[in-house]
Every structure is written in structure tokens, then in C-alpha cells.
Amino acid sequence: MTNEIFKEYSKQLPGKIIDEVKASVPKNITKAKLKAIFKEIVEEYDSMNVAPGECVGLVSAESIGEPGTQMTLNTFHFAGVSEMNVTMGLPRIIEILDCSKSPSTPMMEIHLKSPLNKGTGIKEFAEKIKETKLKECLKEISVNIGNSTLEISLDKNKLKILRVTSAKIVKALNTSLKGYGVRETNDLIIIKPRGKEDTVFNLFKTKEKIKGMYVSGVKGITQVLPVKKGDEYIIVTAGSNLKVILELEGIDPVNTTSNDIREVATVLGIEAVRELILAEVSKVIDVQGLNVDIRHIMLVADTMTISGNVKGITRYGVVSEKSSVLARASFETPLKHIMTAAISGERDTLNSVVENVMLNQMIPIGSGLPKLTYGK
């Protein structure tokens, strides 16, 4: 009975309001009463709509900018763990909105499947994900000047955790070092230059080089930290490599996220980026205890993703997309824009705000927007 009314009004009102009404009215409400309630709601809702010609962008800019002045300028914060920092506060906001190539603290939150999310074996799993270099699984590396060789003794315990055999390391060393012979004896790996003896200087140089050799794990993940979030365990990482991590076995790819905007754009697509911008900006604002309506952030996120690529709010990003020369020139580097426009003979149709302000004309906002036309 009443379902028809709900259906009827679902065209005029967003789903969330309909659901709220459904939850709060009594079950046996009469049709007439429900209709009366909806009439009131529709009236209220329509009066809250943004009027045509309202300059929403300007309102957004002010609404985000004003609380921004209250923000702590430079905060690093990470759930009480000092060795892992996350950029927060204003620097992070700037980073997101400018859409810089690489964030200063890329991070991932890796959600896990059972039984790892209960905490069993999570430490070993985290160790396996972490990018391990040779220097981290060494006991000792020494230069034998007499024989002109390098002697490596490996940390057996560490290798056991990583499930890497010493044979694999020998193989990796063989491919990465040219002109050296690599040989394994009981506990040592001996690296000997082929042909004539190497200088001591070169030996030391090689020693430093092989210390940084990749052994195991996911490239780009520099730190791992298992933490309890709610009632399940997740792994927070410093460094990000979404593409590889999402396809690992044992993790829950659906909820696993990264904070690197460009990486999310290539792996998950443009709509995912919009969600990420929304989530990241509101996270920063919430942490600071500020209150910005999410619609303002949505507008910014939509603007940044409108062209199919992520574009930052910079002169190379969304500003360069503006059709008006004068509007572009009024942002940054005016001379450059005016010169290139003059050379290519661009036309400015004066459709937007800034160029009309410059020319002392009515701006197309609010009551300045409607124009008179002849009827046929």
C-alpha cells in the first residue's frame, strides 16, 4: 500500500532520504498521512537545492580554504609508532590537490583473508611482503684482500623466514655481477673476480653494490607493520605497489587500498581516484578536528577527474583546461599564456567569470546568468 507512495517519491528525492523516512514512520501509517509528510519533505528539500547560477566553485574554495587556515601547518602522525610517519595536515592536502607525481609518504593498508586477519602467521606474512635487500639477510660481508675476494656469510634464520635458499641468492648474484665468479662453500659465498685480480678500491665498490641487491618481497614496500584495526588485523606498509599486492594470495584485495593517487589511477581507474581523493581529503580534515561539508570536496574531486585523467589544481592541470585565455592568464604566468594565445590566434568568447571581471562586464553568475532571447 504505502510502498507505492515511496516509489512515487523516489523520483523526486534521493534514496537516502526515502530510506530515512521508511525507518522513522510507524508501520501502520495511513496513506494520507504519509503523503502529507512527503509533501513537507519535498518542499524542504527543494528549498535547499542550489539555485541555478550559484557559484558553487567559489563557495567550495572558501569553505575548504577557511578551515585550512586553522590547520596545524606540519603534522606527522602515526598511531603511536614513531618509526613510521605519515604526512598529514596542510602539506598532505596540497599534495592531493596538486596531484603530485609521487606522494612524500606512500602507504598501503593491506586487508587480509582468514586466518591471517585473526593474527596467526601475520608477522611472517608481513616479512615476506617487505622488499628485502641482501644487506638485511647478512651476518657478515668481508673483503679478503690477500685473495682479492669477497666473502659473504648469510643469516640462516632470516632466510628461513623469507623462504629463500642460498642457492637462489648465488644465482641472483651471478646474474647481477658481470666479470665475477660466484661460488658457494659450506657457509660462505665467495665472490672472485674473473681473470686478473681486482683492485682493492673496486672490491669495496662491489661490496657496496651487492648490499643493495634485491632478494625477496614486493618492490617498493620499504616497511611493514601489522596492526589491529577494529576486530581484525591488517598490515600497514610504507611504500606502495598496488598492482602486485592486489594479486597476492592470502590478502583481501577488495578492501586493500593505497594512498598514491597516480598509482590508483593506473590500477583501478578514474572513478576509484575520485573515491580516493574524497577519502584522503576528508581523512586529513577529520584528523584535524575540522568540519567541511563533503559536497565541497566532492566538487573538487569531480573537477580533478573530469577529463578522464587525474589533473591537479595547478597551472598544468585543471587551469590549463580552461577555454578562456584571460582566465588562464589570471591564474599564473600571465605573459606566457597571452603570448601563446596571440601566436596561435585564439578567440576568447568571454563566457566565464574572470575574463568578464577584467573587462568590467556583467559576470554570468546568479542574476547575471539569464539572458533575453526572441521567441520564434
Binding site: 537516502k16 594479486e247 584485495p253 578492501n255 583501478l268 581507474g269 578514474i270 572513478e271 576509484a272 573515491e275
Partner: protein, 81 residues
């Protein structure tokens, strides 16, 4: 380590993408009196619509989860990469 293929359309950040028919497309252009050029864009090789095999000129309907409205519908015009 063992790996499995992951379908990105299942990720929490990726909303549902649907290609709309020509009839719906014309209806959309008529209701908002717009052209294809004025729609926001999406590349045909975007990971979220790769499996749909779209071509330039198609319109993708995106059903987003919204914190303010519950569910919102958004449209993007497909362009070639």
C-alpha cells in the same frame, strides 16, 4: 609468492560501470540538453571498463555510492586512449 588474478571491478573504490543503449543516450542528451562532448570523460582502456569493450562515443553510466544521497548516477563519455 603465489598470485591470483584480481577483478578490479570488485574493489571497494570502483563503482558499477554500465554501458547505456543508444536510446537511453539520446534520452540523456535530451533531458539535460547537452552533447557528448560536454560529458565528463573516461578512457576506453580505463581498468574499470576494460572488460566492457567500449568504443569512443559510448556513454558509461556510473552508479556511485554517495554519503549524502545514498546512490547517485553519473555519466561519462568514452574517449580513445
Amino acid at each position: 609468492m603465489a598470485t591470483t588474478k584480481f577483478d578490479v571491478t570488485k574493489h571497494i573504490f570502483v563503482p558499477k560501470h554500465i554501458i547505456i543503449s543508444d536510446r537511453e543516450k539520446n534520452q540523456l542528451f535530451k533531458t539535460y540538453s547537452i552533447t557528448l562532448r560536454e560529458l565528463p570523460k573516461i578512457y576506453s582502456n580505463d581498468p574499470a571498463i576494460k572488460h566492457l569493450k567500449t568504443k569512443a562515443g559510448d556513454v558509461v553510466k556510473i552508479v556511485r555510492k554517495s554519503p549524502t544521497a545514498g546512490e547517485t548516477v553519473y555519466y561519462r563519455g568514452v574517449i580513445n586512449a
